[in-house]
Symmetry: C2
């Protein structure tokens, strides 16, 4: 019999198909050929094909917008939101609107077109995470902004429009719906229990040990109890923290290892998988709170959203989270050390 | 400058790209070839290839599960939820779950494999809508069920796995998240205004007349002010009603005309478009309420959900609703009468 599970962090139900559940080999994802190498604006040597960089990691002494960088942040050429202007919040009758103020940046993760993020060495992944934090800290000074979402699209099915591996950052003048829901749900739990929901989840997951796929001293990676999609992985800091930018350098190292191993085991278990990941952290007007816990969600894009999901918000996950965790752990065992 | 608009029915913000906005011709959707005609279990003459029918419209005297039907309802062979058993709601620590009790049915809309729903004559579309209502009324007697979602997937991008045009019905033991959100938002508006939000939207839309694409005596079709995707259309009954099954026969006729014209102008404006539609109505434990208004949402699947949408719930709509309405109205003018 299928099972309905409630995601405690947003109160949403998910249908878990326990019979006839899928195996990783049921998802036959095709590799994507690299065809844009000769014209890619993110490649080293084509720094003049992008807007001037905002930040880059390159050896001291080298000029900006030149070769030699490791990670490079540029404004998105076609931004979803624009940085200049006033919010101009207003309404007509039942309707509300405001100007599309915000920031939209691209973090190019490597100068090399053919390098995949999961193959970037841990030390260089640390640089990418450090850049996330730097941009986050810089942008949050802007009082018009309420939230900053850092996210990645890998593969066409995940919405990637450029091949060269990169992440993005969009800063918004509103707290996005999904984060708002997590914050409110966390607050309700805290008001009742006087404990952080995510801290309780970590304790229970480590105790049950059925869905944890990796842990080190600072982080835990696990398949959520009510994962909406197959092979979803969440990464949580073990120590309570609502603000992603509170992360210390040693924790960035730990996170880099956790993220790399998580992505590596996912792409090993399901070759050529498209996925998104994003960081959920507290909203800018309330950074340090006892009821919320920042985290990374890695969302493989293997299932199709149809009318049922779109109309109900109820997802059907054909791989029980416990099975997904087992497949991921087995994939990890096969990985080179 | 892009614009942020708030959907008043769920409180969600949408980013509307006002500059560089897309035209229908920017969406080049490929036609889908029909390849499964010889084996399709939904075709007339293959009634034995499906589970026994639950309901069918066929001339009197003909036996069930035989030829001659116009609309046919069958249980889904691979149901997302199963009808037998107890709910068994239970919890472990922070987690909640229950058995996957529910119903999953398929409404085959025509015996003819090659007929598209938008080409089915209005009189036969009425039969389909009548069947929706019949199945809805029958299933809602089951006290274990909290909600019944009737929906359609058209085209591969919309999650259709079988070519032969059909709708589906999934009855769930929980009120789905999205409907719950609509109900709660409607209730908050009602508590403050003592009016139905949707009734107010209808008045304002007819008054502004910038997004309405069709109306007749009973229904209004319009592009929502904060449509999340290009060419989204919503159909609302003009008279307040929270319960879809309250619809009288004359209203079924009006709805049939409205739905047909809406789908027709959409597929004329954007040829080969994949789309979903679904009926949102009140929950089974509270059918007639003054704060909610049942409706149909038609959601074209032209844009890709990427990490930003997935992680934030904020959608970027590249076609302003007012432009979409104009394109749809122009397409309607070109249609044969």
């Amino acid at each position: 019999m299928p099972e309905l599970r409630k995601d405690p962090t947003i109160g949403k139900w998910v249908i878990i198909a326990t019979e006839r559940s899928s195996r990783p080999s049921d998802f036959k994802e095709e590799p994507e050929e690299l065809t844009k190498m000769d014209t890619c604006p993110f490649c080293e040597g084509r720094e003049d094909k992008t807007p001037p960089e905002i930040l880059a990691i390159r050896p001291p002494g080298l000029p900006p917008n030149s070769k030699g960088w490791q990670v490079r942040v540029i404004p998105n050429k076609f931004p979803a939101l624009t940085i200049e202007g006033e919010l101009g919040r207003r309404g007509i009758g039942v309707y509300d609107f405001m100007n599309g103020i915000g920031a939209h940046e691209v973090i190019v993760e490597t100068p090399d077109h053919s390098e995949e993020i999961e193959n970037i060495p841990v030390e260089r992944l640390e640089n990418i995470l450090w850049v996330y934090k730097e941009r986050y800290l810089d942008l949050r000074k802007d009082p018009r902004l309420k939230y900053i979402l850092i996210f990645k699209n890998k593969g066409k099915k995940a919405g990637a429009s450029l091949e060269h591996t990169h992440s993005q950052l969009i800063a918004t003048p509103v707290v996005p719906d999904i984060v708002k829901n997590e914050l409110e749900t966390g607050l309700r739990y805290y008001q009742y229990k006087e404990r952080c929901l995510y801290c309780d989840i970590i304790l229970q997951e480590l105790e049950e040990n059925k869905r944890v796929v990796f842990e080190n001293v600072d982080f835990m990676a696990f398949v959520p109890f009510a994962a909406a999609v197959p092979f979803e992985i969440q990464i949580l800091p073990k120590e309570h923290s609502s603000d992603f930018a509170e992360m210390k350098l040693s924790e960035i190292k730990s996170l880099s290892e956790t993220l790399k191993i998580s992505l590596k085991m996912l792409t090993k278990a399901v070759p050529n998988v498209s996925y998104n990941f994003y960081i959920h952290t507290s909203s800018l007007d309330n950074l340090a709170v006892p009821y919320y816990h920042w985290h990374i969600e890695i969302v493989p894009r293997l299932t199709q959203l149809a009318g049922f999901e779109w109309g109900s918000g109820l997802y059907i996950n054909p791989v029980p989270p416990e099975s997904a965790a087992e497949f991921l752990i087995n994939a990890k065992k096969e990985m080179e050390p």
